[in-house]
Every structure is written in C-alpha cells, then in structure tokens.
C-alpha cells in the first residue's frame, strides 16, 4: 500500500514523544494520521479531543486543532463544542480508564444522543499514566499494581455498551491488526453519528510486565493469539469466551445524529 503524506498532521518538532519504548500509542496515532491523509482533511476542518492519560498526550504531537479536557470528561466537552461547531470533524482519543471508569456516564449519554463524533478507545488493559492499576476493561485474574493476586471483578465489554446506548458504528481490533485498524478508523470517521472503535494496545511497561507476557513483540503476538473474529467468538461457549477478545465490526447503522435530529424537530415540515 502507498502511505499518503500523513506527516503534515504531525507536529514533528515536538518529538520525541513521552511514550515508553514498545508502547502501542504511537501506532494508533500514526494509523489515525494516515487515515486523515487518505481522506485529505484540511487542518482547520478537524480537531483531536483527548482526556487525561498516556494516550491523551497524542494531542501534543498533532499540528491541527487540539483540545485536551479533564480526565473522563472529553465527550461532555465535545457535546458543547459540536453544538457550536457542527461543521467540525471531531475525533476523540481516550484510554480505557478515561472512557470506561470516570467518563462512563458521558460516554453512554454521548452514544445515546448519537453525537456526531468518532471515539477511539486505546485499551491497554490498565491505567498506564498512574502506574498500571486495573481498569473496568482489565480482564479478570489480571495482575496489576492494585490486583497483585489477580483482578477479582468482572470486566466490561465497552463495545456492547456503546451498541446498547445507541451508537451508529462500533468495532474492535488491536494494533497488531493494523490494516483492520485503519479500515475501522476510516469507517468510524466517515460515519455520521456516534462511532466507537476499541483498540487493544500493548502497555509493555505495566500490563505486559505484571502479567509476564513479555516485551513489545510478545505483546503484539499475544494480541494476535488472544483475539478471534466476532463470528467465531459467538460460536464459543461462555467459558471459552472468557479467554479471548472478539474482534470485528459489531454495529453499523444510520440513525439520525443528535444535531440533525434537533434541527429537524425544530422544522418538522422539511
């Protein structure tokens, strides 16, 4: 494949970035920038919204408009922003803690309203920035800095939650599957309404080390081996399913987005 000129979206002078060697965050950012280049957006048409966490530092490395809010609240900020600027293409890049713990309420309501925004969830299976504690998306039995003998709680499927809340597009993949990653990001960005892509990504510094998965390379093959296509996953029995992440597209529909629906209700005759 020919890689388009994504570097125009990169604030090259801000490099090197703060991420650890082998972190998946750079892969996600690059995939996003490549998609932006493919779709050839102008700088003033797009905005990257982030919260707080390792992945959320991505905003420091882009050359276009960038908004970084407080931990967990990105989608609430973006709700106001999109009402003021419905023309702006907004993508959110947030962590699993940011979106599924502290920001869960806003995520559900943004999906319910069908806000026209693409949410990319960098799921590194733990809180990276604060040193590797478990998040609501961390699998059971995982070793983390706050579950030294294994996480006892049940994890959440954020994709199914987004589906139930009303999202127009939901998919999950990993940074190992980078072709699929770019495809899903492109589809999510192109979709009018709320879209969410959960991206499984390695945090070798904490999750990989605590769970003895190995270095960056081993983590990537771990994601290869631990993920199965959605249709295959659905054929597994519940016990078997516990050992795998499904991957693929869960939802694709065209419910009217929040702003369009609001405008339409103001002028019912149109």
């Amino acid at each position: 494949m020919v890689i388009p000129d994504y570097k125009k979206y990169l604030a090259g002078e801000r490099l090197p970035h703060i991420w650890c060697a082998g972190c998946g965050n750079g892969v996600i950012l690059k995939a996003l920038l490549i998609v932006l280049a493919e779709l050839n957006f102008k700088h003033e048409e797009i905005l990257l919204a982030t919260g707080i966490g390792c992945i959320c530092r991505a905003g420091d490395y882009v050359s276009f408009q960038r908004f970084q809010g407080t931990h967990g609240r990105t989608l609430a900020f973006v709700t106001g922003l999109k009402i003021a600027r419905p023309d702006l293409k907004v993508f959110c890049l947030i962590g699993d803690g940011d979106c599924a713990a502290i920001g869960m309420g806003h995520l559900i309501h943004a999906a319910r309203r069908n806000l026209d925004v693409a949410v990319l969830v960098a799921n590194n299976l733990n809180y990276g920035m604060t040193g590797g504690q478990f998040s609501p998306l961390t699998p059971s039995k995982s070793l983390t800095s706050t579950s030294r003998t294994g996480k006892t709680e049940t994890p959440l499927d954020i994709c199914r939650l987004a589906e139930a809340a009303g999202a127009n597009y939901v998919a999950r993949t990993s940074v190992f599957h980078h072709g699929e990653l770019r495809k899903f990001i492109r589809e999510a960005i192109s979709k009018k309404g709320f879209s969410l892509v959960e991206i499984l990504t390695p945090c070798p510094t904490y999750y990989g080390r605590y769970n003895k998965i190995g270095g960056p390379g081993e983590m990537l093959t771990w994601f290869r081996d631990k993920t199965v296509p959605l249709n295959k996953y659905l054929q597994m029995n519940p016990e078997e399913q516990k050992d795998y992440f499904w991957r693929g597209k869960l939802v694709e529909r065209d419910t009217l987005d929040f702003y369009t629906q609001g405008e339409k209700m103001k002028r019912p005759d149109d």
Partner: protein
C-alpha cells in the same frame, strides 16, 4: 431583543439572569435541574431557541460545565446555572476554564448547605467555595447581585468580563433574590456594550502549557503561566464592578454586606438615618477578587465595621485581612436558614453605638 427605549419588566432574579444572558448574546446553556436555580434552565430551554440559541440538559453538573466550556471554545457565548451541590461537582472544570482561559459564566444560586442542606432556603455560605473551590493557585471573578436589577446588570457584566479576561465568571445569587420579583429595567441596544469572542479552537489544554498551547513541565513556563493567569485579573480590578456606598463618610458604624443581606442593610441604614445615627453601607458588587483597597480606605474612617452575611463570617475574615484593626470588626450572622432582617441589623447598630460611647 432589547428595544430602543428602556423596557421595564417585573421579574424574579432568576428570570433577570436569563434575560441578561439573552441580551448579552449568550446562545448556549447547559444545565442540570437543582433548586433554587431550576427556573433558569427551564426558561433557557424555552427562550434560547427563539433567539437562535441552544439548550442542552446534561447528565450531571460535571457535564454541564464541560459542555459550556466546549461551546464557548466553539464560539458561542455560554452559561450554566446551579446551586451548592452542583457547584461542588463543577469545580474541577471551573479550574480547567481558568487554566485553559475559556470564557464562561456560572450562575450559582446559593442555598442552605453543606450537602443537600435545605434545598429551598437561602444562605451566603459559598463565599469561599467560589473563590477556592477549585484546587490550585488561580484567580477568578465572582459578582454578587443584591436584587433583580443587579441580577440583570451584573450578569451582562459577567459575560463581558468573561470575554475580556478570558476566564470563568461566577454570578453568586441566593434563594431569596432568585425568587423575589422586582422591577427590572432592560438596557437599550446602545447601552449594551458587548465584547466579542472568537470561533477558532486552536490548541487548548488544562496542562501547564507554553504560548503555543503545547504542554510543558518546565518550571519557568509554569511560573510564568500561573503568575500571568492571576495577574491578568488582580492587576486590573479597576475594570470590575465597584462596591456601592450609602451614607456618611465617617460613620459610627460601617456595614459591609452583599446579596440579600445588603438589601436588609440598606433598609437598616435608612432606619438609622431617621434616628440621626451616622451609619453607612458598603454593598459589594464584586466579591472576588476582594476589593481590599476600597475596604481598607473606607473602613479606616469608620469607628466600627459590621459585616452582615448568612454564614459564620466568611466575608468578615476577609475584611479583617484587609488590615482593619480586628477589634473594630464585628459580624451579624445567621445560620438558621432565615434571612437577616433590617431591625436585627438596627438593633446591633444600637448596641454597638451604646458600647462605643
């Protein structure tokens, strides 16, 4: 919209705040219902769409202030309204707006607290919460109306100051003036001086950042930023609404008050005048930054300073900190969920004068 001639209306404080917002070209309101501020949300839902604006009911107050900040960054003049419990939830993002320099207006209708307290009864106990509720070293602007007209005038001022200083501005009212119906005179188009904002979002973060909006952890960058954020407000206090002064310049008793308590104090000054007593009132319009210099100057000329407020002495402490000798400063306070009456203030004045002589 505002007319060529001043229109006179009969409005509650809450309604006056909404009309002020509409006249000041606020076109976005995000909120979550809470007594005694709910009517502001209800009225915004009804009126803003008629003026090309938007009302959104968010999932909580954290979301409300966040949406307001987002809308403001997108170029809409934006506000929210709440009361104690909601203000508590907003604090993190109020600090965000201060740090990221996003203009926005928060109307906080004080009710009896802490916690759920008594939802429908007044208090003036959010004095410190509005100033220091959000963590970190910062400065912000808090205005304190004492009636319907002031709710209107100071809310318009709040939108302009938010834009001018690029900062959150809190309009601090209370359960009584929020519901008290009074004559309110609208401003004409000519009288409405509006400062205009910008639509561009650019690069915004709540992290310590350099002049280009990129995050930074360099000590010099942090110090420069924090100093500038405080200085841009504290160094320009002359632009903020000034306290009102009623009565003789060298009074036996100087009352300092704000909000609903200042209304009782006005009446008390009038009653004292009838009895030939030298009593004055300094009614605050800007609560924060605290008008220290003015209070020091006027306070120096008074024999006794009496601070009237519905709390255990939050403003009284600030008055002492202005450099007025502590033995001169007294307080009249109420913490039983009722208001201070003019005769209670007058009685206190009489006691003080008796003691002084």
């Amino acid at each position: 919209m505002t007319e060529e001639k001043n229109k006179v209306q009969f409005l509650s404080g809450n309604e006056a705040c909404v009309w002020a917002g509409i006249h000041a070209k606020a076109r976005f309101f995000a909120g979550y219902p809470i007594s005694p501020a709910t009517e502001i949300a209800e009225m915004c839902a009804q009126e803003l769409p008629k003026h090309g604006g938007f009302y959104i009911q968010m999932e909580d107050e954290i979301g409300s202030i966040a949406a307001v900040i987002g809308a403001s960054l997108g170029g809409l003049r934006a506000f929210t309204a709440t009361s104690g419990p909601g203000l508590a939830l907003m604090q993190e993002n109020i600090g965000y707006a201060a740090m990221a320099e996003v203009p926005c207006v928060i109307i906080n209708v004080q009710r009896f607290g802490p916690s759920t307290g008594i939802a429908t009864k007044p208090a003036q106990s959010d004095v410190m919460t509005t100033r220091w509720g959000t963590p970190g070293d910062h400065s912000l602007i808090v205005l304190v109306p004492s009636g319907g007209q002031e709710c209107y005038d100071l809310t318009i001022a709040a939108f302009n100051l938010a834009e001018l200083f690029r900062t959150p501005v809190i309009v601090l009212t209370d359960a009584v003036i929020a519901h008290l119906r009074e004559k309110v005179t609208f401003k004409t188009k000519e009288e409405l001086f509006l400062i205009n904002g910008d639509k561009r979002v650019l690069r915004v973060t709540g992290l310590v950042h350099d002049n280009f909006g990129y995050s930074s952890d360099v000590p010099e960058v942090a110090e420069k930023l924090i100093t500038r954020l405080a200085q841009k407000i504290e160094g320009y206090q002359a632009l903020l609404p000034r306290p009102r002064f009623y009565g003789p310049e060298r009074p036996e008793v100087l009352i300092i008050s704000f909000g609903i308590s200042a209304r009782a104090a006005r009446q008390a000054v009038y009653l004292a005048e009838q009895e030939d007593l030298a009593v004055s009132l300094l009614e605050l319009q800007t609560l924060w930054p605290f008008p220290e210099e003015k209070i020091r100057k006027i306070g120096a000329k008074a024999k006794t300073v009496l601070v009237a407020e519905l709390n255990r002495g939050q403003v009284q402490r600030e008055v002492r900190a202005c450099g007025i000798s502590p033995e001169k400063v007294r307080g009249i306070n109420k913490i039983d969920s009722t208001v201070i009456t003019p005769s209670e203030i007058l009685n206190e004045i009489l006691t003080i004068i008796k003691k002084n002589n």
